[in-house]
């Protein structure tokens, strides 16, 4: 382990950003839940606790990285939540709005701290308002400043049952063992006396702290050092999350975390934790209850760079090849022994064992492959989570009352698609709020409930994911769309369109939403862009609307972009893959049915003339023509059909797309390659460029195509 890799600040910052993003998201969700308790006089303490914990973690991490602004605001907000959960402060609407605002200030500060945005203005002003607000309820003012809030905080949490406690204990023990063994693995690193680096002292301190936690005494009133002793406890969740990010210096990262959280406000000194923790007397039973609780309720997840998964996938590919080889060897051995006739019994048994275990290996390898594919999948909820807050804010700004219902947030799809689908979804939801749901008065006038409902729903259907966004608003005003289209010159005054066709008009480029109903939406993104984005993801986009009843947008997306369904065909001894989404059907016809028009070959299929491209000849392969029959894959291309002539069909298969090396460059008709289960390579046919190139270069075919 090179010493300079020891503390890579950028990795910590990256980790901080990811972790904080998640926490800010959860703060949003919790605030929305909390909002329902406004002025009810009661409050769900669990929600407040969750908010408190999130802010506490942000504060700690920010302290470690010396992001003073983040730390300060997180601290102030934390104090307000502390007042809330101690019932010292009633929950009011203005209070909740202040907390929402605080979350946004914090987000802006975090963005600026990690170098992704400008430093926000008005932070001091906000902190001032927050202080004023809190001061009313907290005359002592100490709760905001002192460490007391931290201490008090833990007392209010409910104790754990024994099982949870045992689990926690095991976690801590494991963590300590790991930290210690890592440390002995990396003596060079451990010897490094930098303040950031973990050293034996940290582990000792953590050990002492944990010892203190589990030696329950009668001294229920935990004195000040208790706070330090208690702090190492977050470790059970943290190392797990940190492992991939800090992979290069795991031994260092963990103890560092421990010592740093112990002293969030000051620059970490390894030794600092020791005097604080060592004299820690017996802690009250409530103390361990606080943190294990988090360990239990929090998701056990790790963050992994997608490239590492791809690497893993490649390695599994290699495993598959070797597995195939072993199976072959086993089979050959079995045959040889069989023909030999008088093979010794021992050898025969060995051969049998070999073939059995190679079969087992095959199954395991396949499972590993599938599992890695699944790991790439993430729940769509990651995207949905941002909408409750967005809808709340938008609705307030527009003076509308809107309920957002979310279903199927757990539906999995490929990470790349989840990343891409956020933008179009956001636009659609915004569209529903702006144009779909009517103002409360209008709704009442129409005999509907005052509050409108927007539903977000996701579910799997076959190997597709369906996402629906619907509202019970006014629906698309067909006559207005028609008017607008005429005004824009998209259709003529005299054109007669059915409802379906009129709805389709909103996807015309330039048909901005700006003029549709309100002034606020239509930030330059039209529905055409939404549709284009979804098509780019190889998805399908559809809209249904009933005037007066509502609008429903439906998108159908593939589960993943990296894996597609393909038809395997053989051409001149090589296997090629044709993406199934381009394939309409495959046909086996008599060679006599192929006719020639202007030197190009065509067939007539259900009355339609379909030009043919012989793939083998296009690729200049040594592919003799079959005199009797022709195997044709009919592909669809911008409404036209083209027949690709191949040697044989080899069935459908899911394939993983890999790009061809850029050393080879772009090749007409080939979009990439895939590695098949037996390790061999199949090139993927790019139907679009193949057809374009065939017609662009072949005079006969071009004449044929235009002649059809």
């Amino acid at each position: 382990m090179p010493a300079d890799d020891f503390f890579d600040r950028s990795e910590f910052v990256q980790y901080f950003r990811d972790e904080t993003d998640e926490l800010l998201q959860s703060i949003d969700a919790d605030l929305l839940r909390l909002e329902q308790f406004v002025d009810t006089g009661s409050i769900d303490v669990e929600i407040v606790n969750s908010l408190f914990r999130a802010l506490h973690t942000i504060k700690g991490s920010a302290g470690m990285l010396e992001f003073a602004g983040v730390q300060q605001v997180a601290h102030k907000l934390e104090s307000v939540y502390d007042l809330l959960r101690k019932d010292r402060m009633p929950l009011t609407e203005s209070g909740v709005n202040l907390l929402f605002e605080g979350r946004d200030v914090l987000t802006a500060l975090v963005r600026a701290a990690v170098g992704e945005g400008e430093a926000p203005t008005g932070v001091d002003e906000y902190v001032g308002r927050l202080d004023d607000f809190a001061a009313v309820y907290d005359s002592t003012a100490q709760a905001i400043e002192g460490p007391r809030s931290e201490h008090d905080a833990e007392e209010d949490l409910t104790p754990l049952d024994e099982a949870q406690l045992a689990a926690f204990e095991a976690d801590v023990a494991r963590m300590l063992a790991e930290a210690q063994s890592r440390q002995s693995d990396a003596p060079e690193a451990a010897a490094e006396p930098t303040p950031e680096a973990g050293s034996g002292v940290d582990v000792d301190a953590a050990q002492a702290a944990v010892d203190a936690l589990f030696s329950f005494g009668d001294d229920a009133a935990a004195p000040a050092p208790f706070a330090a002793a208690f702090q190492p406890a977050p470790a059970p969740t943290k190392p797990v999350k940190a492992a991939p990010t800090f992979g290069r210096a795991p031994g260092a990262a963990k103890p560092t975390k421990v010592s740093l959280t112990a002293q969030p406000a000051s620059p970490p000194k390894a030794a600092a934790a020791k005097p604080a923790a060592a004299p820690a007397p017996a802690a009250s039973p409530a103390a361990p209850a606080a943190e294990p609780k988090r360990a239990v309720t929090k998701n056990q997840t790790i963050r992994v760079d997608i490239e590492r998964l791809d690497m893993l996938l490649n390695l599994v590919g290699e495993l598959v090849i070797n597995r195939t080889r072993i199976s072959d060897i086993a089979a050959t051995l079995g045959r040889e022994l069989g023909t030999n006739g008088r093979a010794e019994g021992g050898l025969t048994t060995l051969a049998k064992d070999l073939s059995e275990s190679s079969a087992l290996l095959a199954r395991t390898t396949n499972e590993i492959q599938e599992s890695i594919m699944k790991v790439r999948m993430v729940p769509i909820g990651q995207v949905f989570d941002r909408f409750p807050r967005m809808v709340r804010d938008l609705a307030k700004a527009r003076g509308k009352e809107i309920h957002l219902e979310i279903a199927g947030a757990e539906t999995d799809l490929d990470k790349t698609i989840v990343d891409e689908v956020g933008e179009p979804l956001m636009h659609l939801v915004r569209n529903c709020v702006d144009h779909g749901i009517e103002p409360p008065e209008v709704r009442e006038g129409r005999g509907k409930a005052r509050h409108g409902t927007i539903k977000l729903n996701a579910y799997h259907e076959g190997n597709q994911v369906i996402i629906e966004i619907s509202d019970d608003g006014g629906g698309i005003d067909l006559s207005r769309v028609r008017e607008k289209a005429i005004r824009l010159g998209i259709i003529g005054e005299a054109d007669r369109l059915n409802d379906r066709e009129i709805i389709e008009l909103i996807f015309t480029p330039g048909f901005s939403t700006a003029d549709q109903v309100t002034d606020v939406s239509g930030r330059g993104v039209g529905m055409d862009v939404v549709k284009k984005n979804i098509l780019r993801l190889k998805g399908v986009f559809d809209v249904d609307s009933v005037q007066g009843e509502g609008t429903k947008f439906t998108m159908k997306l593939p589960l993943t972009l990296a894996i597609i369904q393909a038809l395997l065909v053989r051409v001149a001894q090589e296997l090629y893959s044709i993406p199934l989404d381009a394939v309409i059907e495959s046909q086996r016809i008599d060679a006599a049915e192929v006719r020639t028009v202007h030197g190009g070959e065509v067939i007539t299929l259900r009355g339609q003339v379909v030009p043919l491209i012989r793939v083998g000849e296009f690729f200049r392969l040594d592919a003799p023509r079959d005199p009797d029959k022709v195997m044709i894959v009919i592909v669809g291309l911008q409404g036209r059909q083209v027949g690709l002539v191949v040697d044989s069909f080899q069935g459908e298969q899911e394939i993983v797309i890999k790009p061809l090396s850029d050393v080879i460059g772009r090749i007409a008709g080939i979009s990439g390659a895939t590695i098949l289960g037996n390790g061999s390579i199949s090139l993927i046919i790019d139907v679009h460029s193949l057809v374009a190139s065939a017609y662009g270069g072949g005079k006969a075919a071009r004449a044929e195509f235009s002649g059809v």
Partner: protein, 157 residues
């Protein structure tokens, strides 16, 4: 002590070539190569190297030498230039040599077979001549020619 460089030496026909060892990632036995249609002639195809697709250049074809059957000595030298990985088919791999830098001369005109464009120099060790290849040139030439091939040649339909 004079400065030396380490090269992996290999043979094509009777001539001996070398590439900087820092650019050699590994040396493999010949494996099944998947032909890539419409690629330039010297582009033998692609292989699956532990799940990665590696393009393979046939050096004989690249240097306009007659092609020969692959033998048990045929090797694929997998090289890494920048972020690009390319395998080169050679007749056989000889050894790893230390060449004193002062023993390397500019490519003489008289070398037959290989276009001097792809040669960094010629190293002398005892009575052997090692032709040092400029891999970046070989690859970038590959890209250039590929594009030409794609643009100029009409599609056969």
């Amino acid at each position: 002590m004079s400065e030396t460089i380490q090269v992996v030496s290999f043979k094509l026909g009777s001539e001996e070539y070398g590439v900087d060892i820092a650019q050699v990632q590994e040396i493999n036995r010949m494996v099944a190569v998947t032909h890539v249609p419409r690629a330039p002639q010297f582009m033998e195809g692609v292989i699956n190297l532990r799940g990665q697709l590696i393009p393979i250049i046939d050096l004989r074809t690249r240097f306009a030498m007659p092609r020969t059957e692959h033998t048990k000595n045929t090797r694929i030298v997998v090289t890494e230039i920048g972020t690009k990985r390319v395998g080169m088919v050679v007749d056989s791999v000889s050894e790893v040599l230390r060449l004193p830098v002062e023993q390397i001369e500019a490519a003489p005109e008289m070398i037959t077979g290989v276009d001097t464009e792809y040669i960094r120099g010629v190293g002398k060790i005892e009575d052997r001549l090692i032709i040092l290849l400029d891999l970046a040139r070989i690859i970038s030439g590959a890209e250039k020619r590929e594009l030409e091939a794609a643009d100029v040649e009409p599609a056969a339909v």
